[in-house]
């Protein structure tokens, strides 16, 4: 074990050991460690290679803002690229790999890019890959993607589950540091519903990383007690390992809870992560602040770390980044790091403060500890190979001094973490007092407190948090009396930022993740990219997985300095969701694979499965496609058998999917006359009529049947696809267009299971089945009859309608009896050779019969186009009548419905083929229409099709071509135009 692990407890369980591997090498750590703290404890300094120059990189931070320490976690299908070692909770058996290096972390061929660094400057892509243009897709982009890029995603299907959850609260508190805990306590004690989220697995924020006293006790313990109390309050939900990543309209927030990321794999029924949608009346933004790095030569060398992160590692994890750790600070805060190191018996070779004067208290503290203090001094650069060995310092008098050290803590000041305040359009404003941006223009109901608001002292955080929590509770209607505030010591939080340390020839990094140096920023400034947004696009500063959390302000301040402005003049960029990366799996939730979307099953589904049916998804519905018999390998053989079975005998098909709407009321007939193009009011009770509905624009909307069960009671059927839209259309008509009509509508699709019993022997099947319940003879129940009756004491409906063109009935029973009904039909039909049939046979028979369906009712066809022009009543007004008369819709040369058959019988037709005259070039100008539906017709013995042809029915008998350039090679065949009704054109069979 390396000597970097200090003695003492911190927040790790020292008496337990967990084992993990990094790049295949085994290490040990403790529960409570992060991967980063365990690697530091083990003396591992280089954890990754940089994006562009492949420079060795170490750990910069102790939080989610980490730009460098990105690793691949886990293996196989669970492999996750770009996880930040600084937030990965250590678990036994964890496997991590460094990324963006080849062949190894220690020796990386890509580091040669550093030698060409003058090439890889700002605007490199724009300047270099301009010519020849054709090279971009084929050569440049693939090469760049191989060389750059970060980790590799897992290839296999993710084996884990993800969930989405909704939460509602009076107060959402973002961040469980001192301000957030105080806010949650104040509101929670008052009885308000509170959700407190923190991305860390340990509540407390800086209280865990710093040494504070609250009411005379260790600050970390105060945080633990506060979290315990909150957990005991019934209306408070404390969510650790949860990042609030976005603020959205309607007081809605997105949060990602890493439920089992800290385990080797999720337990049974546990999700890996949960995506929370949180709706909060009020929000307290207690997201703290992010420390700024300082820009100087070699500031990216492993061993250079943010001073606050060093404190966190020392105090919380009991790890020091080096045996000797120097401190470079621009404010009072860095001194805390120096004192904590010394108090933990880590040698601090020097504290370099860029300021010439510091508070006397700090100076006294430093003297008491016997520290070497260098005021008015700056760290110019770092030395070393794959880690810091020493630093070059320029002292107050300008002398250059080399100081040997293993690590350097840098404290450049703090930026309030404003991210969530900007997602709805707020723009932070510059504060001269803290030399950073503070939240401004917050969304309604959101308030920032503590460090997130730029108040960096502990006392201010506790005060503002408690007040915000109290206010939120009171605005939600709870009495929240002011309570005594915890006692804390005053601390000094002064500082003066140092945007750039000049004087080193080494690369000074502004954005470590995207390898953007001071030189790149200077080029952008010289070339006129002066705004924050342009700077980002031109240099890529602030892009990547960390989105510039540690780099953006330094870059902006640098451009401001170089162009003689204040950062306030430059403005800052808008931060957009997500705050930290969110896995696609979490966004998909449970809707993947077979659960991608819900499926509607027909009442006979289980029976169809038991008959070995194949299925097809049509819209929401899963329907039986065919019922192949054992040994029927060829779909055509099954189709021919099913069609012949129906046409020569009897078949049964589940048609429950057709939309069914119950229409009642004294004005029901009037209403239906207005929504159908044909007349409905003349329909006698006990009869059914085919009807078409038009859209307002005159195009055919839907077709179906209307059955009249009483003078003011109708039942409509719609196509399966339009069931919901037809109901919406009717609701609009009765609620908005004609509220004065007495009409009641009820959707009853789900209520009834309905079966088509079709074929010349259908009557022979139904007679014994229905027994004396209803007389189905041709005299008593002729074509288009309908009736409601009782069957075995239950409601039932019978319609004599036909889609197949045969003598046919549709029998409806309550849905729960659908399964029993289809079994009874099959049993009754057994002596008659009844065949169950599916969508293939249904579709084929309707094409044989020339019935239009979805492919013809395609939203572009008029009733005339469909050969249904005669149905448009001239006796009444109805929706779509006026616009159906537009010149373009009644033009005689519009393509109209015809049938086609191949001139040579063995040839197959394809739907989508375009009609051309024989000899005409295939061009848009010569296009005469297209084939909409095709089928192999068992009754005709060849392929048949329906389509729309200019001139339409007048051209029956003509030979034309069907040209299809995209269905597997160019298909160009000669076809004969026919009547669209291929089968029983006189309709004798229907009425038999």
């Amino acid at each position: 074990m390396s000597q970097n692990r200090l003695s003492g407890e911190g927040a790790i369980l020292r008496d337990r050991v967990v084992s993990f591997t990094f790049d295949g090498k085994r290490y040990r750590g403790h529960p409570g460690d992060t991967l980063a703290s365990a690697l530091l404890a083990a003396g591992v300094r280089v954890v990754g290679r940089s994006f562009k120059y492949h420079r060795p990189r170490g750990i910069l931070t102790a939080g989610s803002e980490e730009p460098n320490a990105l690793v691949e976690l886990r293996t196989g299908a669970r492999r996750e690229p770009n996880t930040r070692a600084t937030v990965v909770e250590l678990f036994d058996g964890l496997e991590a790999h460094s990324q963006n290096r080849w062949p190894s972390l220690g020796f990386d061929v890509g580091a040669i890019n550093s030698l060409f660094s003058p090439v890889f400057i700002a605007g490199f892509y724009y300047k270099t890959f301009m010519w020849p243009a054709a090279f971009w897709e084929r050569v440049y982009e693939p090469a760049i993607r191989r060389a750059a890029g970060l980790g590799r995603a897992g290839i296999g299907a993710d084996p884990d589950r993800y969930e989405k959850v909704h939460a509602f609260c009076d107060l959402l508190v973002v961040g469980a540091g001192p301000a957030g805990l105080a806010a949650a306590l104040a509101a929670g004690r008052a009885g308000a519903r509170v959700v407190l989220c923190d991305e860390d697995f340990l509540p407390g924020g800086r209280l865990n990383g710093d040494r504070h006293e609250i009411d005379g006790r260790d600050g970390a313990l105060w945080a633990r007690d506060a979290a315990d109390e909150l957990a005991s309050l019934p209306e408070v939900r404390v969510m650790t390992r949860t990042t609030v990543f976005g603020a959205y309209d309607g007081n809605t927030f997105g949060a990602l809870e890493r439920v089992t990321d800290h385990l080797r794999e999720p337990g049974a029924h546990q999700p890996r992560q949960r995506l929370w949608k949180i709706v909060a009346r009020q929000t307290v933004l207690a997201s703290g602040a992010l420390e700024r790095p300082i820009v100087f030569g070699g500031n990216d060398r492993p061993g250079v770390m943010l001073a606050s992160a060093v404190r966190t590692y020392v105090n919380r994890f009991r790890v020091t980044p080096g045996q000797r750790t120097a401190v470079f600070t621009t404010g009072d805060d860095g001194w805390k790091t120096a004192f904590d190191l010394v108090d933990s018996h880590v040698e601090v070779p020097a504290v370099v403060d860029a300021r010439r004067e510091i508070p006397a208290a700090l100076e006294n503290e430093a003297r008491r500890r016997g520290m070497r203090v260098m005021l008015g001094a700056q760290v110019l650069d770092t030395r070393g190979g794959r880690g810091v060995r020493g630093i070059g310092v320029r002292d107050e008098s300008g002398r250059r001094i080399y100081i040997a050290t293993d690590a350097l803590a840098m404290a450049g000041g703090w930026n309030p973490n404003t991210a969530l305040s900007t997602h709805l359009g707020g723009r932070p404003c510059w504060s001269d007092a803290i030399q950073a941006y503070v939240p401004a223009g917050l969304p309604a109901g959101m308030i920032a407190v503590g460090a997130a608001a730029g108040d960096f002292s502990l006392g201010a955080a506790l005060r503002a948090g408690a007040e915000a929590g109290r206010n939120a509770a009171e605005s939600a209607g709870f009495a929240a009396p002011a309570e005594r505030l915890p006692r804390v010591a005053d601390e000094s939080v002064g500082g003066k930022p140092l945007w750039l340390v000049a004087g080193s020839r080494r690369k000074a990094f502004v954005d470590a993740q995207h390898d953007v140096t001071t030189e790149d920023v200077a080029i952008a400034a010289r070339e006129g990219f002066h705004s924050a947004e342009l700077l980002k696009r031109y240099t890529t500063l602030g892009m990547g997985t960390d989105q510039g959390k540690t780099s953006a302000l330094n870059g902006h301040a640098l451009v401001a300095t170089l162009t003689g402005r204040s950062p306030a003049d430059l403005g800052t960029i808008a931060s957009r969701p997500p705050y930290t990366p969110v896995a696609i799996g979490a966004l998909a939730g449970t809707h993947r694979g077979l659960h991608f979307r819900p499926v509607r099953l027909t009442p006979s589904h289980g029976w169809a499965e038991s008959r070995g049916a194949t299925f097809v998804d049509l819209g929401e519905w899963r329907r039986a496609k065919a019922f192949p018999l054992a040994g029927e390998r060829d779909w055509k053989r099954t189709l021919v058998r099913e069609v012949r079975g129906v046409r020569n005998g009897v078949g049964v098909c589940d048609v429950s999917t057709l939309g069914k709407i119950d229409v009642q009321g004294s004005d029901a007939a009037t209403f239906l006359d207005r929504v159908y193009a044909n007349v409905i009011s003349s329909l006698p009770v006990g009869k059914t009529r085919y009807g078409i509905m038009l859209r307002e624009d005159g195009i055919v909307f839907d077709d179906g049947t209307v059955a009249r069960f009483g003078s003011s009671h109708f039942v409509l059927s719609t196509t399966s696809a339009h069931a919901v839209r037809v109901l919406q259309h009717l609701e609009h008509a009765r609620q908005v267009l004609w509220p004065e009509l007495d009409v009641q509508l009820a959707p009853i699709t789900e209520q009834w299971a309905q079966f088509a019993v079709a074929g010349p022997r259908s009557r022979a099947l139904l007679e014994p089945l229905l027994g004396g319940a209803i007389d189905v003879s041709n005299a008593a129940f002729p074509y288009l009859a309908c009736a409601q009756f009782r069957w075995h004491g239950r409601p039932a409906r019978l319609f004599r309608i036909s889609f197949s063109g045969e003598l046919a009935y549709e029998l409806a029973v309550p849905a729960r009896y659908g399964d029993a009904a289809v079994r009874a039909i099959i049993a009754a039909g057994e002596p008659l050779g009844v065949v169950p049939y599916g969508m293939e046979t249904l579709g084929t028979m309707r094409i044989e019969k020339g019935h239009v369906a979805g492919a013809e009712l395609n939203g572009t066809t008029s009733a005339h186009d469909l050969g249904l022009g005669r149905m448009m009543s001239a006796q009444k007004d109805y929706i779509g009548r006026i616009l159906a008369g537009r010149a373009g819709l009644v033009a005689p040369d519009r393509p109209a419905l015809v049938g086609v058959k191949p001139a040579q019988p063995g040839v197959r037709l394809t739907a989508g083929a375009h009609f051309l005259r024989i000899g005409a070039q295939p061009s848009l100008a010569n296009d005469e229409g297209f084939i909409s539906s095709v089928a192999f017709s068992p009754t005709q013995g060849h392929w048949i099709g329906l389509g729309f042809l200019k001139g339409g029915p007048a051209r029956v008998g003509e030979r034309i071509r069907a040209h299809d350039p995209i269905s597997g090679g160019e298909i160009d065949i000669e076809v004969e135009v026919t009547n669209p009704v291929f089968y029983d054109p006189d309709g004798k069979r229907l009425r038999s």
Partner: protein, 202 residues
């Protein structure tokens, strides 16, 4: 003679897996055999129908998204002049007797088979519903007697808050379209699995 098909009613949840996980955080009970009817009053007769139902059933049909129960019957508001009425056991005869009761004052349509209704009870029902519906089911906002028309796993559903159980455990009814029962049940079962889920047939 052929089998009497009406003797073989199939529950909406027939054949679906009945449990997931360990424990009984959520216990589902199929609500089979209900009589369900949609009532929509005819022009201008709402007041008369309300008065009739108050007198005959002891229920004032609510003009809001909630329900009122009296004995075996509950009536819930669906929209203007429209209610859903439920009888614990009357089946298809319920709609007919309601129509007879109301006469020409309203159109009554049988919906007894249109819905797959599941009663969800147990200590973890709210945690489970939080994964399923995008509405607030906290007792402070969604009171006993409340109805919400919402979505669950991309499906339109109705959610009824029942009275809490004897142990103080919350109870709800979730109403989905019958044809979607398998998808809806899978969503519920998956969401409740971590708390322990079991479905009972009464």
């Amino acid at each position: 003679m052929h089998t009497d098909p009406t003797s073989l009613a199939q529950s909406a949840y027939a054949g679906l897996p009945a449990a997931a996980g360990h424990g009984s955080g959520v216990v589902a009970t199929e609500r089979d055999g209900l009589g369900i009817a949609r009532i929509e009053t005819r022009g201008g007769q709402t007041a008369a129908v309300v008065e009739l139902l108050r007198g005959k059933l002891g229920i004032v049909p609510p003009n809001a998204s909630r329900y009122v129960r009296c004995g075996d019957v509950a009536i819930g508001g669906l929209g203007p002049n429209t209610w859903i009425a439920v009888h614990e056991s009357a089946g298809y005869s319920f709609a007919e007797s309601l129509q007879a009761l109301i006469g020409h004052g309203a159109s009554v349509v049988d919906q007894s088979d249109a819905y797959a209704v599941l009663r969800l009870a147990g200590p973890k029902v709210r945690e489970t519903l939080a994964k399923l519906v995008p509405i607030d089911v906290h007792p402070r906002t969604f009171h006993a007697g409340a109805i919400a028309q919402t979505v669950c796993g991309y499906l339109g559903v109705m959610l009824w808050r029942l009275e809490d159980g004897a142990q103080g455990d919350p109870a709800f009814e979730i109403w989905g379209g019958r044809s979607f029962a398998a998808s809806l049940h899978e969503a519920i079962r998956h969401s409740a699995a971590e708390f322990g889920y079991a479905r009972q047939t009464p």
